[in-house]
Symmetry: D2
Subunit: 298 residues, 4 copies
């Protein structure tokens, strides 16, 4: 009467700090840091574990955690995409029952204060998700998604919103000058057809981040939807190996305060930031011919 559907399991949020003490390849004499949160999710033929409690196919989540630490020691952590690929391939290769490994990593940036001293910098978090699926990727190419979250941007000019549909419940005034603010959450998928080996993940990330910011800053906005599309387009156009980018942009409302009760005029200078509710604009931008693989509504 009952069957097991899609399932996966793994260790989430393994907080790894990797210190590189040798720094052989760098002019700096100092240490280097990689500060990560690594999450692993495995799936495959795990019916027995669910139905009978037979765990013989289960690589423990504790061992997954240990593997993250051991691999960090043995291989170091280059870019997070590299480290996720290494781990994902290992989990699929080493366990007969496991056919899909999904490794997601968040990286927290640090700024150097001295040879061995650092300050957490940048509010945004760099992310990656690698999916190694033996069934799906006949070519052996894992899916590599890079991204960022919590990049908070604001335009204090150049944002309009008017000409929208009006129904019985529409009271919003049209405006040609509003604050536009968001916390960018973006994932972009690398096209592996041309060979991922050439991609320099770190440079690619820095470029994508800059393109997102410059598109946000330079687009005269008639809606956050339009800004989203401009941001996605800029990344697709600027980075040839990216086939798809998905953006989730909360509209962090800043409302102009009504000062008229105090006999004052608000010349677009005093706003209150509202926590909830907020608009949420989500969309995917695709290179021509690419298919949407990053989810979202049909």
């Amino acid at each position: 009467m009952v069957t097991l559907g899609p399932n996966q399991y793994g260790k989430a949020e393994v907080r790894l700090l990797r210190v590189n003490r040798s720094s052989l390849n760098h002019s700096s004499a100092g240490h280097e840091l990689r500060d990560l949160s690594v999450s692993v999710a495995l799936s495959g033929e795990l019916t027995a574990s669910h139905l009978t409690g037979d765990n013989s196919a289960v690589l423990t989540t504790d061992a997954q955690k240990n593997t993250v630490f051991a691999f960090a020691a043995e291989h170091g952590v280059a870019e997070i995409e590299d480290f996720a690929l290494l781990l994902a391939e290992h989990f699929v290769a080493s366990q007969e029952a496991i056919s899909v490994a999904r490794v997601s990593i968040e990286e927290y940036a640090w700024e150097r204060l001295g040879d061995h001293s650092f300050a957490r910098s940048a509010r945004e978090v760099r992310t990656t998700t690698v999916i190694y699926d033996t069934a799906r990727h006949d070519t052996g190419e894992p899916l590599v998604v890079s991204g960022l979250k919590d990049l908070i941007l604001l335009n204090s000019a150049g944002s309009e919103f008017w000409g929208f549909a009006k129904d019985r419940y529409t009271t919003l005034a049209e405006t040609t000058d509003r604050i536009l603010a968001t916390a960018v959450n973006a994932q972009w998928r690398h096209d592996q057809q041309d060979g991922s080996a050439q991609v320099s993940w770190g440079e690619s990330y820095a470029t994508a981040r800059d393109l997102l910011m410059s598109a946000f800053a330079q687009t005269r906005s008639y809606s956050l939807q339009q800004t989203l599309y401009a941001m996605g387009t800029r990344v697709i156009e600027g980075l040839p190996d990216i086939a798809e980018i998905r953006l989730s942009l909360p509209n962090k409302h800043h409302f102009e305060v009504d000062l008229s009760p105090f006999g004052m005029e608000n010349k677009g200078e005093v706003f209150y930031a509202s926590d909830r509710p907020y608009g949420l604009i989500e969309g995917t931008v695709l290179r021509d011919g690419a298919e949407a693989e990053l989810g979202g509504p049909a």
Copy 2:
């Protein structure tokens, strides 16, 4: 060179408190409360808004928010599934460009202290998501998903974990007695074939919640996977209209403290609760013949 892929937009986390002052249908003379967070996401033919900034098809997220409040006033809030259905059908019906409306609601429970006095009760949050998709649901049946999150459960006996795969990185000791704790996050999909009109959402929710708790408490566990399957099975077997249930169960580790350095023995009585990392077990349980529609890995 670039095209727009899947997209949606809407107002998120509209915090609505609905007080029912009449309570005509109730023996109690007092008020009744519904405390909700309502999120709306609409999609359809919105290319113009993204590409040219033409907003003529955009029902503002502000109007969506207003609609939530106005509908709460006009129709009241019965069960959250009813309210989500009402809103979703309205948004699709009223806007030409909108073909899909997704309405998600969280409900926070209150316990009565007096006729007009209440205390927030229960840690868990009741949830629903209704998807009204004109294209997909030829029969006009919207997808109705009910659920809960943050239901924290713990077994201090009856949980084992052994017989698992061992690789180079496996150091975990086998055990026949461990703490098993989780925060249940569950969504279950109602089968609309038999007509949703008959479902009493409130009773169904209470039953599903009880079944989840009793299955957790009564299952001798050989893994959290097995407990997950037992919980899902119990709900499918106990509620004929539920076709599918998806569970996401963090393994909230409680590790036995090593007291031997102090010349003491830990007889399974002193544990420390660890925040991160944690195991994360996710899976879907299906009624025979049902298809998995609630996501998750393939």
Copy 3:
């Protein structure tokens, strides 16, 4: 040119789960749980550690953590006040340099589902802070403070707010019917003069919690200040050993939605809950003759 002022150090948020397997004193055959977060702060003659890095007087925070676990094993955890007293006295007695120990504990409640199964219950957190100060407490009586936080209460009737001062910036309308909601954060100090040995901390806590809730529910409110005072008064009057109670009550605003743009009237039934800003009302209520020792503005 520079001197060291007040200082303390310790281990914070030791997450302890104590399972009582024997339950000898109880009719239930099942286990019992105590789920705590324990924080220790020690002070005394620690100048050398600060100035020269001489740590010879420093009991490590790691040892403090170990002590929490070892004491839980050896002595069990009766009420959190008892456990905090035990720990505070130990730290002061065992370390020459330490003259003051402050032990704070949060307790999370669980509801029984079965002999060995539990669900987290009650949103509020029970708290205690014990301060054992060799200098101040000549009598050897430590300061014992009990409390709770995150007890969320709401009155949907019986709350007015009018007759307030008006200045140039006052726009708030007077009302004789508003929602009054808060998250109670309270600490109350036990008067040790009569001997703390007699106090049954668990019963005292249950009584104080009930008094706070009933005072909130039964007071016709003309301001949250007045409700605060009524709540404090009820506790002082109902529990003879309590000399002082300090309450911090955020005014969790629920604003009536203006439905007039939609041709509808809001009959006090539709509100939106606002996150920020919020009012914050703080005050101490004292038994006649008692002095305020729990802080707050002069």
Copy 4:
């Protein structure tokens, strides 16, 4: 039988965004932003409000919020200390019953991307608290405290911890090489004797922040206590108008992972970051002759 003790009330977390569009004093043609969270707490003769519900002396928290916005419009926001002083003096001067005003402000930094475009920068939050107390400050000098929080720092070398006290519960190994990481939470009090008018709050803040970071980076640490004292000393010595600084430094533990089960050696390169429990080191550093006014244990 019962009396009212210390009390205060006010509006907390007013989220103000002030855009300066003219930028007359700046070479940049662009806008300038001030992004603040302002909290007000007033106290004085408010017994009637508590005891009888007579609100005639109560300036509503809503009016306090309005005042924040109106003052931002009328006076602009220079440095947060200036704005807090302006508000605190206003509240005490304008309301007969109010004798003490405490205004606390958090400021969130933004980095310029373009003339009207900004990105949230820096993880740390700049803070101030101004207390204007008519009774206490005979000279009319309000207390001005500046500070910061969430400045996350890490040393990957130069930190030792040994020679500490050992008791029965001490198991920690001594080390001459550990990670030292913290999230700096600091408040420093400006000495108003010399006239606060001369203090350039912005420059003073930047200097204090730099001194805290450089002291952390440059101090060979034998304990976090010693680092705390070095940080405080550096600020007192570098900024003549600062009389007192209070630091609260969580010891964000990074533990070296034991790789020996995998036949590997950890050469101080692989650590896991632990959330809880954590050490918490708190202390005040004073200029000779200054008294501790910023709280903390005796």
